[in-house]
C-alpha cells in the first residue's frame, strides 16, 4: 500500500499530471480529448496517464473502440476505512465511559 502512496505523490509532483487530473475530475474523457484541450501532446498525455494509472489515481474503461479515463479516488473504500476507524474509536470511548460511570456508587 505504501508503494501506491509514494507513487501518488510522485505522480502529482508533475504540473502536467496535476492538470490532467483536474481535467478528469471535471469529466471522464479520452486521451484525444485531453490532448485537444491541454497544451500537451498526445503521446505525452498517454505517458502521463500511464503514470497516474500506476499510482492508482486514474481508472481506464473501454467504451466501444475508445478508452475513457476517470479519476480513481477509491472513493467508497477510503470513506469506509475512515468511518470504520471513527466508529471503532467511538465505541471504545463508549465502553470506557459506561463502565467507569457504573463503577461509581
Amino acid at each position: 500500500m505504501a508503494t501506491y502512496v509514494d507513487d501518488a505523490w510522485t505522480a502529482l509532483g508533475d504540473p502536467s499530471r496535476r492538470q490532467i487530473l483536474r481535467r478528469l475530475a471535471e469529466r471522464p474523457c479520452s486521451v484525444t480529448e485531453i490532448a485537444e484541450e491541454l497544451p500537451i501532446s498526445r503521446p505525452a498525455v498517454s505517458q502521463h496517464l500511464r503514470v497516474l494509472k500506476e499510482a492508482r489515481l486514474v481508472l481506464v474503461r473501454p467504451q466501444g473502440t475508445r478508452r475513457i479515463y476517470e479519476v480513481d479516488l477509491q472513493g467508497l473504500a477510503t470513506l469506509r476505512e475512515e468511518l470504520d476507524q471513527f466508529w471503532g474509536k467511538a465505541l471504545e470511548n463508549f465502553k470506557r465511559l459506561v463502565e467507569e460511570e457504573t463503577e461509581q456508587p
Partner: protein, 160 residues
C-alpha cells in the same frame, strides 16, 4: 469489539457490562465523551458535542467561540432499544446539505443479560455519498483538495 463491513456499510459492535437502559442513556446523553474529538468540521476546537435526544433533533458540535456545526439529524429515537441518525458529512469532511446524499447510522442496544448489553452499530448507504465524488467535484479539482486527500490517504496507508 468486532467489525464487519459490506461494500456500502460499516458495522461495528461491542458488549458492555451494564443494563440496556443504562447503555442507551450513556450513549446518547454522554455522546460528548464518545465522539472522537479530532473529527472537527469547525474552525476552532470543539467545546462540546450535543445529541438532542428526540426525533427531529440534531447532533452538533459547538466550538469554543460559540460557532455550531450540525452534522447529523435524529431520524428515529426509541429508548432504550435503538436510534437512527443521518450522517450529513461528505467524504471530504464537509457538511452535506442534500439529504439524498447523506448516509445514516443505526445503533441498536440488545440486552444479553440483566447487566449486559450488546451494542450494534451500522453506518449504511455510504454509496449515497459516492456519485459525483468519484467523478470529481470542485473540492477534488481544486489545489486544496488533492493534498488534503493524499494526506489522509497516507495516514490511512501507514496505519496512523
Amino acid at each position: 469489539m468486532t467489525s464487519t463491513s459490506t461494500e456500502t456499510s460499516v458495522r461495528r459492535e461491542t458488549e458492555v457490562a451494564v443494563p440496556v437502559e443504562r447503555a442507551f442513556a450513556v450513549f446518547t446523553e454522554k455522546f460528548d465523551g464518545i465522539k472522537p474529538r479530532e473529527h472537527n468540521l469547525l474552525a476552532v476546537p470543539i467545546a462540546e458535542t450535543v445529541f438532542e435526544t428526540r426525533v427531529g433533533g440534531s447532533v452538533y458540535d459547538r466550538g469554543e467561540d460559540g460557532s455550531v456545526c450540525r452534522w447529523a439529524r435524529v431520524l428515529e429515537f426509541e429508548p432504550p432499544h435503538r436510534f437512527v441518525i443521518s450522517w450529513d458529512i461528505d467524504p471530504h469532511w464537509q457538511i452535506e446539505t442534500d439529504p439524498d446524499r447523506c448516509s445514516e447510522v443505526e445503533v441498536r442496544f440488545i440486552a444479553t443479560g440483566p447487566d449486559r448489553t450488546r451494542v450494534e452499530l451500522e453506518h449504511r448507504h455510504l454509496d449515497r455519498h459516492g456519485p459525483g465524488w468519484e467523478r470529481g467535484r470542485d473540492g477534488v479539482a481544486s489545489e486544496g483538495g488533492w493534498p488534503l486527500y493524499l494526506q489522509r490517504f497516507t495516514e490511512l496507508a501507514s496505519g496512523a
